[in-house]
């Protein structure tokens, strides 16, 4: 696959994966695989989520009460675990998004002035 540099989400700023998961789930309930696919697709294949990082992250968010998990049935009729954003998760997403905007803008400014 001839492609330009891809980035594993884990390589980026810490906490970014959590934010991306929260953002993804703000569109609706999804299972873990769908989350991976969505992030990859939405970033046009730039961001690649490692399974080794995704599931611990999902469970960490669930333990923190930002997500709630429920067993449901997938499109292909298999039992799958669906994650849903809780109110606390929504609040957390807002905070994270605002923080990200500030940081990203700051980084951009630095890059432009240099």
């Amino acid at each position: 696959m001839g492609e330009t540099k891809k980035s594993a989400v884990g390589d980026m700023l810490p906490g970014t994966l959590d934010m991306l998961i929260l953002k993804t789930l703000s569109r609706g309930d999804m299972h873990g695989y769908a989350i991976v696919q969505f992030i990859q697709g939405a970033s046009r294949d730039v961001l690649k989520v490692e399974e080794g990082a995704l599931y611990p992250a999902l469970h960490r968010l669930e333990v923190r009460g930002l997500l709630r998990a429920e067993w449901g049935t997938s499109d292909n009729n298999r039992r799958a675990k669906y994650y849903r954003l809780t109110t606390a998760g929504r609040r957390e997403l807002e905070t994270e998004a605002a923080y990200w905007d500030r940081v990203a803008a700051a980084v951009t400014r630095v890059m432009q002035t240099a």
Partner: protein, 899 residues
């Protein structure tokens, strides 16, 4: 960690199985989806699955990481460690059994003794704020300070003048005859001042206790409070008991019941069944005499007053009284003593010594287990190195080892609790020392906590040594090293040190036990001055009747002095009846008997004595006895004779004294016919009495020594005494005569209650019970110590031999004889044992002072110590010899091949 997170994790802890299943399923779903996508991209089935897995990475690692989100990681690894520890322990059953056994003995013994010690703490007293309760004792400065108790006037001054106490209450214990419908019975009665009950913080379960106006010497109220047991036993728990009357004492006095105490309350004496106001303690003129002393007082310290402050308060009062009443209060003081010391003082030192002894046993057990663990850690050196190579952190490995030893000690603790339970029950059943009835040593929560604490401490201790040794595993070296090669020099040194420590601790215990055994044997062999074998002792309270003629005159004139009264049975008649009992070869009466605690002392003056002061004023213990008292108890006459029957009269002036009197006043002279009289002052108006006989000194009041060196004086028995002691010499075992003797007394008169029936051997035994108790337990502990030490030595020597198999094989191949090998191995062990013995002996001598109060007639340099060392050396050498013998049987070929 937020509360919510902690909550989720705690829940997860309970549902871990389901969580694991969920996670498995979730990951399987993910893999399946990825696989399906790859297939859609055109990969073959196998390729798609492989690619999906490859992309997924290490599933186990991921699972562990995810699981960590849900759980407390330290707890999780702790769980793992425990499971791993149990598995390794199961794989080495011999090691586990020996270690758990050693620990069970150590921990079990400690817990048992701790239970006993805990049961006799101040806190255990069933009274309000027991650590503020004290007893006040009047004392006198003679050759040394002696306790005498208080007189009523002194007591009243203490109450009026002291500022340290919330209140003070006089207490004395006597027995009184309860005249019931059937058998008259002697009942232990406490004479108590009104504040007694409130001082203890105990109130009546029914009715009330005494009021201050009932405890007035001028007009004491005839009221009584019953114990719960007495009320149930003699009154069938009559609910209408309050207000009823009962008849007590010889004078057929009526007492009104005012209250019943709650169950379990038996007063300070722990044996009282009745309480009467202290004002009834003695006749009003006796109560008014400042010189008549004989009771202690109970007091409660004010909250902010220390014992020392209270003592100096009492000292000041005593000095004022001494100035005001020099005749009666010269050199008189008052001692403030904590109540728990008074009640438990006699058992505590023994138990604390035993506590130290059993702690030694535990130390030996720990040393043993540490040794075993070190030996194992050598064997496991490779395993540990491999684990370190696979990335186990150093701290993690250390934790694993400590966990393992903790698991081991907890197993030991569990077994130890069983041992302790059995031991406490056995100790209480066997103990010749009486524990207070309220002290019911039990394995309660605190004891369990103690056990767990001790065992965890042990676990850390024994785990740390091999753990630290495993700290620096030189990886490549360890992996190369064969499992057989001998352990590092350093660990060998640690193991040797442990063996030396074990041996020396065992020596200390063995010497201690040996000394106790010798001491008890000395006590048993001690000559008390009389022959205690085949003697039955009993006490009787002989009621008195008014002589008929006197009774008539008494009816008219109540103000006249008490009319003379007669005993219902004369002592002479009673003795005749008892002598007729088959099996009785001799019988005598005494106002009190040796070791029955009934003796009282008087000051006296010897004719022609030099002037004396309060410190050396001659004092003598007075006994009234029938003529055959001396032959019955086989008390030898030094000179003179016993009383003639004609001298058994109240007016008789014949006396028999013990040797001490003669040695003090008429050494080297013929004492017969010398005179003395009662009363400390030479001006005393008491009549002079002539010595007709001199007998040997008797340990009349305590064994191994009388508390004070005062001699004894014997006066002719007259029927004035209503409380009498009876001694019977028997030709058959004395205790088998109790029933017939009872019947004979009842036939003489049914209204005579008998009490305190015991063989003289039992009385002697009670005096030495503490020593025997200590000896017994010290023996048990020493045996445990010996056994554990031997197991330890054996273990280490066997290990040593197995480690040196190759070396021994080479030596044998090069022509060494079996004997040389034997000498090599045994010599090795002998050095360790020798060092342990030397250290142990030095420690024994150093510790001797601690136990010296419990010893009688022995010192640490005693042969017992020598014997202990010989036993230990012999057994320990045997423990070396067996592995050494095995070493000589090593086949050189096998030994070399075994590498």
């Amino acid at each position: 960690m937020s509360l919510l997170t902690a909550w989720h994790r705690s829940i997860a802890l309970l549902r871990r199985r389901r969580l694991d299943r969920d996670l498995d399923e979730e990951l399987a779903f993910h893999l399946a989806m990825r696989e399906a996508d790859y297939r859609a991209d055109g990969l073959g089935a196998d390729a798609a699955r492989d690619e999906a897995r490859r992309r997924f990475g290490n599933v186990t690692h991921l699972k562990e990481q995810t699981r960590d989100m849900w759980t407390f990681p330290t707890f999780e690894s702790f769980r793992q460690d425990i499971r791993y520890a149990l598995r390794t322990l199961r794989k080495a059953p011999g090691f586990t059994v020996v270690a758990v056994f050693a620990l069970a003995v150590g921990i079990g013994g400690n817990t048992a003794i701790f239970s006993l010690v805990d049961a006799i703490r101040a806190r255990a007293l069933p009274y309000r704020d027991p650590d503020k309760l004290v007893q006040l004792w009047g004392n006198v400065q003679r050759a040394r300070v002696e306790r005498r108790g208080a007189s009523y006037p002194d007591y009243q001054d203490w109450r009026a003048q002291s500022k340290s106490f919330e209140d003070i209450a006089a207490v004395d214990s006597q027995s009184m005859t309860f005249v019931g419908n059937d058998d008259p019975e002697r009942i232990q009665t406490e004479f108590v001042a009104a504040p007694y009950f409130s001082l203890l913080g105990v109130s009546a379960a029914r009715g009330r206790t005494f009021q201050p106006d009932e405890d007035v010497v001028a007009r004491p109220a005839q009221v009584v409070v019953l114990s719960d047991g007495f009320w149930k036993r003699r009154f069938g728990a009559d609910p209408q008991i309050v207000g009823r009357t009962l008849t007590l004492c010889c004078a057929a006095r009526q007492y009104t019941v005012v209250g019943v105490m709650p169950p379990g309350f038996k007063g300070l004496t722990d044996s009282a069944e009745l309480w009467v106001p202290f004002a009834l303690w003695a006749a009003p003129d006796t109560m008014a005499a400042r010189g008549v002393r004989g009771f202690a007082a109970l007091a409660r310290l004010k909250p902010d007053v220390t014992l020392a402050a209270a003592q100096s308060d009492m000292d000041a009062i005593s000095r004022r009284l001494e100035q005001a009443y020099p005749n009666t209060n010269e050199k008189r003081g008052a001692e403030v003593s904590p109540l728990d010391v008074e009640l438990f003082g006699n058992i505590r030192p023994a138990l604390l010594t035993l506590m130290a002894a059993v702690a030694f046993v535990l130390l030996i057990a720990c040393a043993n287990v540490a040794n075993l663990l070190i030996a194992r850690s050598e064997v496991r050196r490779r395993e540990i190195a491999v684990r370190a190579a696979l990335g186990a952190g150093r701290g993690r490995l250390l934790r694993q080892l400590v966990t393992e030893s903790c698991v081991l000690t907890m197993l030991g603790a569990a077994a130890g609790l069983v041992v302790a339970h059995v031991a406490v029950t056995a100790l209480l059943a066997q103990s010749p020392v009486t524990f207070p009835s309220f002290a019911t040593p039990d394995l309660d929560v605190r004891v369990a906590v103690f056990t767990v604490a001790v065992s965890l401490a042990c676990g850390l201790l024994v785990g740390l040594v091999p753990g630290l040794q495993a700290q620096a595993p030189d990886l490549s070296h360890a992996l190369k090293e064969s499992a057989r090669s001998s352990g590092g020099r350093q660990s060998q040194r640690v193991r040797n040190a442990l063996v030396v420590a074990e041996v020396s601790l065992a020596v200390v215990l063995l010497v201690g036990a040996g000394l106790m055994i010798r001491s008890v044997r000395n006590l048993a062999g001690l000559n008390p001055g009389f022959d205690a074998q085949s003697v039955l002792t009993l006490h009787a309270s002989i009621p008195r009747t008014l002589a008929p003629a006197d009774a008539q005159s008494a009816a008219g004139a109540t103000a006249a002095p008490a009319p003379p009264s007669r005993p219902v049975v004369e002592g002479r008649v009673l003795l005749e009846r008892l002598r007729a009992v088959p099996g009785v070869t001799g019988a005598a009466l005494g106002s009190d008997l040796p070791l029955d605690g009934g003796a009282s002392a008087s000051f006296y003056t010897a004719e022609g004595q030099p002037p004396v002061n309060a410190q050396n004023m001659p004092r003598i213990y007075v006994h009234r006895v029938t003529p055959d008292f001396f032959t019955t108890l086989r008390i030898p006459f030094v000179s003179g004779r016993t009383f003639a029957d004609s001298e058994l009269a109240p007016t008789s002036l014949a006396v028999i004294v013990s040797e001490g009197v003669v040695k003090r006043f008429w050494p080297g002279q013929d004492p017969i016919g010398k005179r003395l009289k009662f009363g400390g002052a030479p001006t005393s108006t008491n009549p002079w009495m002539s010595i007709v006989g001199v007998v040997g000194e008797v340990k009349y009041r305590a064994l191994p020594q009388n508390p004070t060196a005062d001699p004894d004086i014997y006066l002719p028995f007259t029927d004035r005494n209503s409380l009498v002691g009876l001694v019977l010499r028997t030709s058959i075992p004395p205790s088998s005569l109790i029933a017939t003797v009872r019947a004979a007394v009842r036939a003489a008169d049914p209204s005579i209650p008998l009490y305190n029936i015991a063989t003289m051997d039992e009385l002697v035994g009670n005096q030495t019970s503490r020593s025997r108790f200590t000896m017994w337990l010290m023996g048990v502990f020493a045996a445990c110590a010996l056994m554990l030490a031997v197991v330890g030595i054996y273990g280490v020597m066997s290990y040593l031999v197995s480690q040196r198999t190759r070396e021994i094989g080479i030596r044998l191949a090069l022509g060494a004889k079996g004997q040389d090998i034997l000498r090599l191995v045994v010599g090795n062990g002998a050095r360790l044992i020798g060092a342990g013995i030397v250290i142990g002996l030095v420690a024994s001598f150093a510790l001797q002072r601690v136990v010296s109060t419990m010893l009688f007639g022995v010192s640490a340099a005693d042969t017992a110590a020598g014997l202990a060392v010989v036993i230990l050396a012999a057994v320990a050498m045997l423990a070396c010899y067996l592995p050494a013998l095995r070493a000589t049987r090593v086949s050189p070929l096998n030994a070399l091949r075994s590498e």
